[in-house]
């Protein structure tokens, strides 16, 4: 019996290298060597949207679409969306913006509720938090009509679309745009990224969703992990260029991937 399952040696090596790079940068941050990171514009956009809502006296909504935390492909962007929710809720409480978070799964509802409640408590604004109203559970399916109708009736001025978005992305973003909201959208679901980019006023694409979560955490060890991810990108670029050259000159390296 081989030591490693056939076809998985190269992925294992790459995984170890990338995780080692991430851990190394995090360790460097512990020691005070924080890498210089490009500032994500979305950090300022969150404040801009909430500020607009406060000035106009209209609510800001934070939507996450699919939050089925038992599905691995949905769990990761949902966790990232929760992290951004923590920062956004805190900012909304501090600025005094009306904040609303509809959630379509019971488990995610309890987590979102805890996050938003903690944010309001931390800002000393707990009296503005409604346990069943600020974060609301809406069954998947029924949420569509509720959100479409109430976006209009509540005249929302700002909206955040974060997490794992599927076909509802177009429905909600277009509806929010027509209702006059300023929007920030971000998902890692590749086939819905174009919709959010096209319709939302501001957008974060794919990996930036995770990066934004780390950035707004204000924890240098979290944000320095982004530098470790960049090592993975450099490796990917090198492999792509090398593979393209080898394929062009006719060298077949597919056997490496079946090791």
């Amino acid at each position: 019996m081989s030591l490693i399952i056939a076809g998985r040696a190269l992925p294992l090596v790459l995984l170890v290298i990338i995780i080692a790079a991430i851990l190394w940068y995090m360790q460097q941050a512990y020691s005070g060597n924080v890498p210089k990171l490009r500032r994500l514009n979305a950090v300022d956009v969150i404040g801009e949207i909430l500020g607009r809502c406060v000035e106009m006296g209209r609510p800001a909504w934070y939507l996450m679409d699919t939050v089925d935390m038992t599905t691995p492909s949905v769990l990761a962007p949902t966790v990232a969306a929760f992290q951004i929710l923590s920062h956004t809720a805190r900012s909304a409480a501090r600025l005094g913006a009306k904040f609303f978070v509809p959630v379509t799964q019971g488990l995610a509802y309890t987590i979102a509720n805890d996050i938003v409640e903690e944010a309001y408590r931390a800002e000393g604004k707990y009296e503005y938090f409604d346990p069943l109203g600020t974060v609301m559970y809406l069954p998947d399916g029924a949420d569509r009509m509720y959100i479409i109708n109430h976006m209009w009736s509540d005249q929302i001025a700002g909206a955040f679309f974060m997490g794992s978005w599927y076909h509802k992305a177009v429905i909600f973003t277009e509806n929010a745009a027509r209702a006059g909201a300023l929007m920030l959208g971000g998902t890692d679901t590749t086939h819905n990224i174009p919709f959010l980019v096209a319709i939302c006023d501001y957008s974060i694409i794919g990996e930036e969703l995770y990066a934004l979560g780390a950035y707004v955490s204000q924890d240098p060890t979290q944000s320095s992990s982004l530098a470790g991810q960049d090592i993975g990108k450099y490796i990917a670029m090198a492999l792509i260029i090398l593979g393209a050259i080898l394929a062009t000159i006719g060298i077949d390296i597919s056997s490496i991937f079946t090791m």
């Binding site: 076809g7 038992t70 691995p72």
Partner: protein
């Protein structure tokens, strides 16, 4: 406000109403218009056609109530296609609702089979039902079916099903067909069956997901793909088995034309405003 600005700010209800008429009319009054077959669909059809008669294949049925109208007819056509070649079918689903629609597709396909084509449960096909766990369940299924499945959809123990006698992992299958609807789960099959075991794979998804999987087709990991209602209609057309998808595909002609008209007119009006300096 000038007329052009009013038109550019058109109430979406008018857009919705015209679209509704454009989609409903050809469904109520069927219209057959010329249809070119996409290369992804031809590739997927030829792949299914190339499966040796008598082989065993595994099919993931991932349609829900929302996606069954567009992808369901294609799945029905696939089942008919394969059963006519005496290919044995093993179905599974990674969603609870999806298993119900998979069985609906199987029942409908069997009703469309020509006389004399065998389609006995447990002999020619078996529905293993819902297997929870998403990709990890797919991985477990590929390595050891009996580790995740004890009974089929109807409650029959797997060991009592004749078709499953010598079938316990991915190596028993000649191909994988992933009818994932809008699950976004086709990469599960690529990662757990194609990569580790080299099992060739094809499938279907909703129209908006097709660009997402074109890298896999270019890389040879997917042998074509049926995309949405157009893909289902093309499968029915290639199989010479007219069904509901063909009618719906004709409806998409008119809906698509309305979309194109809106975009073209919107841009023309926008350019007029720009030349006037009002945009």
């Amino acid at each position: 406000m000038s007329l052009i600005k009013k038109l550019l700010d058109l109430d979406q209800r008018i857009i919705f109403l015209v679209l509704f008429v454009a989609l409903a009319f050809p469904i109520l009054n069927p219209v057959m218009l010329p249809m070119a077959i996409q290369d992804y669909s031809i590739q997927a059809f030829e792949f299914a056609d190339s499966i040796p008669d008598g082989s065993i294949v595994i099919i993931e049925g991932g349609n829900t109530a929302a996606t069954y109208p567009q992808c369901g007819p294609g799945l029905i056509a696939q089942i008919v296609h394969l059963l006519r070649k005496d290919v044995k079918l093993v179905f599974f689903s990674i969603g609870a609702e999806q298993q119900v629609w998979t069985q609906t597709a199987i029942d409908t396909a069997i009703s469309k089979l020509p006389a004399g084509v065998p389609a006995e449960n447990g002999v020619n096909w078996v529905n293993l039902g819902y297997i929870p766990g998403g990709e990890s369940a797919t991985a477990a299924l590929a390595n050891n079916i009996r580790s995740v499945v004890a009974k089929d959809y109807f409650g029959t123990p797997v060991d009592e099903i004749p078709l499953m006698k010598d079938v316990n992992d991915a190596t028993a299958f000649a191909a994988l067909f992933w009818w994932g609807g809008s699950e976004g789960s086709i990469p599960y099959g690529v990662r757990q069956f194609v990569g580790p075991f080299g099992i060739p794979m094809s499938g279907s998804c909703t129209t908006n997901e097709v660009p997402n999987y074109s890298p896999y087709i270019s890389a040879g990991q997917l042998q074509g793909l049926f995309g949405g209602v157009r893909g289902s209609a093309e499968y029915e057309y290639l199989l010479k088995l007219p069904g509901p998808a063909l009618g719906q595909a004709m409806a998409t002609n008119f809906g698509g034309l309305w979309w194109l008209i809106l975009v073209a007119v919107g841009n023309i009006l926008y350019f007029i405003l720009r030349t006037r300096g009002e945009a």
